[in-house]
């Protein structure tokens, strides 16, 4: 049946179903296809902590939200245009996200008596008046999938597992998308099981054709390619970008990458990604625990590799003591924290920004180290690369903060070429001959940085350790003056990094005004979106987003002073705001959301307006 084609600028879809329904895969495929088509995209996967949470229940719902558009999009969207609900529980959980008059695509087979009971419905919401506000497209996906596969010889379970392809095909039709990229994906994924290739493609096409032939709806939608800056793009997830950033840094520095880690959600995917790149000389070591992970990394750094260790909050807590050692040793190391909901085990699969203070202060004694943060999935690449650069060039452990939202989210990435990447200068202490002056392991250059002296280099034999070290020689020293001098020089070394990092810029808005929204981390997209709205309304508001939290860019104080008020949105109970207030003695206000999910645009807009008018 021929359909009208409507143009749309942006669309937000949430795919929702049981954890076993392949929701994440469906969402990812739609995303990749849209990205390949040229849309700007931004995603937010949101799944339960259990591997397979109880089937059919609210707790077992897996969701994947995606915003794509012909204009730039910075978040996965606040309110959804389309809800795909594979069962009653998924419907229940996600209906609140759907805008009035939005579209619901329903798998009717997921609303039988048992499903309703598990979802806690007394009667079927499909027969409810409340649905009148929405456009409902009901499909018995299970039946149609089974029909498509009737001759395939596949078992019931396998048939059910390919239902998601039907839905995907249907949406491809609805949004006027090609199915070729997904066909290619299916072929690669099931390379070892050709019968599954055929089956999945068959179902995918069945879904597409169902859209074409069914009478269930009358219009298709077209979302044109976005006018992104000229260049070649790929879609990328945050953890993947982080992994690539590390590999890139190791290549630019000419060092092998050593990645010592212990699995933890949501950081593990970096390990998985890196372990695929052994042909880059990447050595991944799954240690027995986080302490061994960081300590082995210190060992590798001592040996001359680019040492990186990663975890999430609880694992980072375990690394604190050893990170302090790295501060003392003044060896390069990057510590990645992909933050998740805390405290303690907290909300392992949810996002949060509550480990900033831990990064700043979660060690005994005066143990300053640089703290770098990424602001979006693709930005993880740059931030990870920069963290490595600083670690190597300034001989210091560096914290790199990511979070669950950007780690699992994805967006188009105008990836760089090798040549476009900054150089990373590695300075190794040189071999000493008999009559050369004695090697002083803690002698510093003008940036207060010591030399990296690799085992195996003649004449550089030396000992380092966690007890306070004597100026220059690095020998153990209990001298009181020396200790103070060393504490101060370690702090000064970190502070001087400010000389080599870019000045802070204003992301949107004017250089001065009423309200400065100062953000860090994955709130970037939503703040940017909110600012757009506010600026369009003529509010005097600006947005600056921090990559460097320790040390701050040198001009941050000046920037702040140019605004009457400072608003600091954070997915925590107020952490950056403490540092800003302390450093600059301004009455910065926090906007805090601690729900394991990102801010929505209206939340930020509202806070800006309230503060502007306060």
């Amino acid at each position: 049946m021929a359909k009208v084609v409507e143009e749309k600028r942006v669309v937000t879809i949430v795919f929702a179903g049981d954890s076993g329904d392949g929701i994440q895969l469906t969402g990812t495929q739609f995303t990749n296809t849209s990205a390949l088509f040229g849309n700007d995209v931004s995603t937010f996967p949101n799944y339960p902590a259990e591997i397979r949470a109880p089937q059919g229940t609210v707790a077992g719902v897996s969701g994947f939200q995606l915003q794509f558009g012909s204009v730039e999009v910075y978040t996965a969207g606040d309110i959804c245009d389309v809800l795909v609900a594979m069962n009653a529980a998924a419907f229940k959980v996600n209906l609140p996200r759907l805008k009035k008059s939005g579209t619901i695509i329903i798998n009717t087979d997921g609303f039988n008596a048992k499903d309703l009971r598990l979802a806690g419905y007394e009667s079927s919401p499909l027969e409810d008046k409340s649905l009148e506000d929405y456009r409902t497209i009901s499909i018995d996906v299970t039946k149609l999938t089974a029909a498509a596969l009737v001759d395939s010889g596949l078992g019931k379970k396998e048939v059910e597992r390919s239902r998601n392809m039907f839905v995907l095909g249907f949406l491809y039709y609805m949004y006027n998308r090609e199915i070729a990229p997904t066909e290619k994906f299916i072929k690669e994924k099931f390379a070892k099981a050709p019968h599954l290739i055929d089956a999945n493609i068959k179902v995918l096409k069945a879904g597409y054709n169902f859209g074409d032939t069914s009478e269930t709806f009358t219009s298709r939608y077209n979302v044109k390619a976005a006018k992104l800056p000229v260049g070649t793009y790929r879609n990328i997830m945050g953890n993947q970008a982080t992994a690539l950033g590390l590999v890139a840094a190791s290549q630019k520095a000419g060092l092998d990458l050593f990645y010592g880690s212990y699995p933890i959600t949501p950081a593990s995917d970096i390990l998985h990604e890196l372990s695929k790149h052994k042909n880059f000389g990447v050595k991944t070591f799954q240690a027995e625990d986080e302490i061994a992970a960081v300590c082995s990394t210190i060992g590798a750094s001592f040996g001359g590799e680019l040492g990186v260790t990663a975890s999430s909050g609880p694992g980072i807590a375990l690394k604190g003591e050893a990170i302090g050692l790295a501060v003392m040793l003044e060896l390069p190391m990057v510590v990645i924290n992909v933050q998740r909901g805390g405290p303690s085990t907290g909300l392992p699969t949810k996002t949060e920004q509550a480990d900033l203070m831990q990064a700043m202060y979660g060690r005994n004694g005066e143990a300053p180290m640089p703290v770098i943060s990424a602001s979006s999935p693709s930005d993880c690449f740059d931030a990870a690369f920069e963290a490595c650069r600083i670690a190597i060039e300034h001989m210091t452990p560096v914290f790199f903060l990511s979070d669950g939202y950007m780690a699992n989210g994805s967006e188009p990435w105008k990836f760089p070429t090798t040549d476009e990447l900054k150089e990373i200068k590695v300075v190794h202490a040189k071999e000493r001959k008999q009559d050369d002056p004695e090697f002083l392991p803690y002698k510093r250059d003008e940036r207060l940085v010591r030399e990296w002296a690799l085992p195996g280099t003649k004449g550089l034999e030396h000992r380092i350790g966690g007890i306070e070290k004597e100026w220059d020689t690095g020998n153990i020293s209990y001298n009181p003056e020396n200790h103070e001098r060393m504490v101060k020089v370690r702090a000064a070394k970190v502070a001087r990094i400010a000389d080599s990092i870019p000045l802070q810029t204003i992301d949107s808005g004017a250089d001065s005004g009423k309200v400065l929204v100062l953000g860090w981390g994955s709130t970037y997209g939503v703040i940017k979106t909110a600012l757009k709205e506010c600026l369009e309304e003529g509010l005097e508001v600006s947005h600056a987003h921090l990559r460097y939290i320790e040390p701050f860019p040198k001009n941050l104080g000046e920037i702040i002073k140019k605004f009457d008020k400072v608003l600091i949105p954070e997915m925590n109970n107020g952490q950056l705001v403490k540092i800003i207030r302390d450093k600059f003695l301004v009455d910065a206000k926090g906007l805090n959301k601690i729900k394991g999910i990102p801010f929505s645009t209206p939340e930020i807009v509202l806070a800006i307006k309230e503060l502007a008018h306060a």
């Binding site: 990749n32 990205a35 390949l36 040229g38 990229p181 390619a225 976005a226 006018k227 000229v230 260049g231 070649t232 793009y233 790929r234 990328i236 890139a248 290549q251 050593f258 052994k278 042909n279 880059f280 000389g281 050595k283 070591f285 027995e288 302490i291 061994a292 300590c295 082995s296 990394t297 210190i298 060992g299 590798a300 750094s301 001592f302 040996g303 001359g304 590799e305 040492g307 003591e321 050893a322 050692l325 040793l329 990836f415 760089p416 070429t417 090798t418 085992p455 195996g456 280099t457 003649k458 004449g459 550089l460 034999e461 030396h462 000992r463 380092i464 350790g465 966690g466 007890i467 153990i476």
Partner: protein, 344 residues
């Protein structure tokens, strides 16, 4: 790594640093330091290719006295640091120095994992059955009932049997020596170094300040012959004054017999074979309290040595294989990925 091999022969002195040695006078650590410094020149490894990694404890000050590369890390973590170093730089000669508290209390987990992974490194476990540096609390090797600063009424912990623990963790080399028998210590150090894989050498070390005499029975002339059993490859297990006792296997069960009453000769005895894991197990069971009647003598020497793949070697094989399969990593290709589109 320096490849220049036309080296001037090194001497023990070359391994001495300018740092004053800060152990208590009379501490057993001195003797071990000296023996290590004395065997290193014989290994033929260049100074700059040797790294000593330690944790925290009296014994862990060791690296500061060795003129090689060294790291005095944090308590219990030396094996973990060394593991990373070994992966990064498999060609280096890596030595771990650790105490009974450092390796068996806080560091127990890293120890057993290092052992099962079988990195090619030498672990010297200075066992003085006490926490020396923190001034005399009991350790996981202190005997039950030991009165220490933290156990004024006696320790309640059943101690570890380090050889048994390490064997249980599938060690490929376990051995025991003592600070006071320097000749034997030297020999075992050399064997530990020669072993390719993780060599775990427990060294009984006297802490004359907080646990003086803990091993006297094995080191004292008067009792040594009766109490210490020296294992020699291919030789029968003989001990006792005038070598008048031996150990044989009676249907699989070790039994002490006399050699001077005409009943048994050396030919009847258990022949030491460090490649026999079962026998090694039996040797680890010779761990009785020496004050018990009829106890077995304590074995010294190499209990067990086995060849098994090393983690770091296996890793480099994978790295090579990956290059073989996919070619040397091409960063541009990696960044570009599989699916791109162009905005123009």
């Amino acid at each position: 790594m320096t490849t220049d091999t036309a080296e001037i022969k090194l001497t023990p002195k070359d391994f001495t640093t300018d740092q004053e040695v800060r152990w208590c006078p009379g501490c057993g650590d001195y003797s071990i330091l000296k023996q290590v410094q004395s065997i290193l020149p014989e290994t033929g490894v260049n100074k700059e290719d040797i790294v000593f990694i330690s944790g925290i404890g009296c014994s862990s000050r060791f690296p500061y006295y060795m003129d090689t590369f060294g790291m005095h890390s944090i308590h219990g973590r030396a094996t973990a640091v060394a593991s990373g170093l070994k992966i990064a730089r498999p060609e280096l000669s890596v030595w771990v120095i650790t105490g009974d508290g450092d390796s068996l209390s806080i560091g127990g987990n890293h120890l057993i994992h290092t052992i099962r992974r079988n990195f090619n490194m030498n672990i010297l476990l200075f066992n003085n059955e006490i926490y020396g540096l923190t001034k005399g609390q009991y350790s996981p090797t202190s005997p039950e009932g030991k009165v220490t600063k933290s156990t004024p009424m006696g320790s309640l912990d059943h101690p570890f049997n380090p050889m048994a623990l390490c064997l249980g963790a599938d060690a490929t080399f376990i051995a025991r020596a003592m600070d006071r028998d320097v000749k034997h210590l030297r020999e075992v150090l050399v064997r530990a170094n020669d072993h390719i894989g993780t060599s775990l050498l427990e060294i009984y070390q006297n802490c004359n300040v907080f646990n003086d005499g803990a091993f006297e029975i094995y080191t004292d002339k008067g009792s040594k012959k009766e109490e210490a059993l020296f294992l020699e490859e291919g030789q029968p297990l003989v001990f006792g004054n005038d070598d008048n006792k031996g150990i044989l296997l009676d249907n699989g069960t070790p039994k002490v017999v006399r050699l001077d009453d005409g009943m048994y000769t050396k030919e009847d005895l258990w022949i030491h074979d460090s490649s026999d894991k079962h026998k090694a197990y039996l040797l680890t069971t010779f761990f009785d309290n020496p004050s018990l009647e009829g106890h077995m003598p304590r074995p010294f020497g190499v209990f067990y040595a086995q060849d098994r793949f090393r983690y770091e070697e296996a890793m480099y094989q994978q790295l090579d294989l990956a290059v073989e399969r996919k070619g040397e990593g091409n960063l541009d290709k990696l960044l570009r990925g599989e699916n791109t589109w162009t905005v123009s």
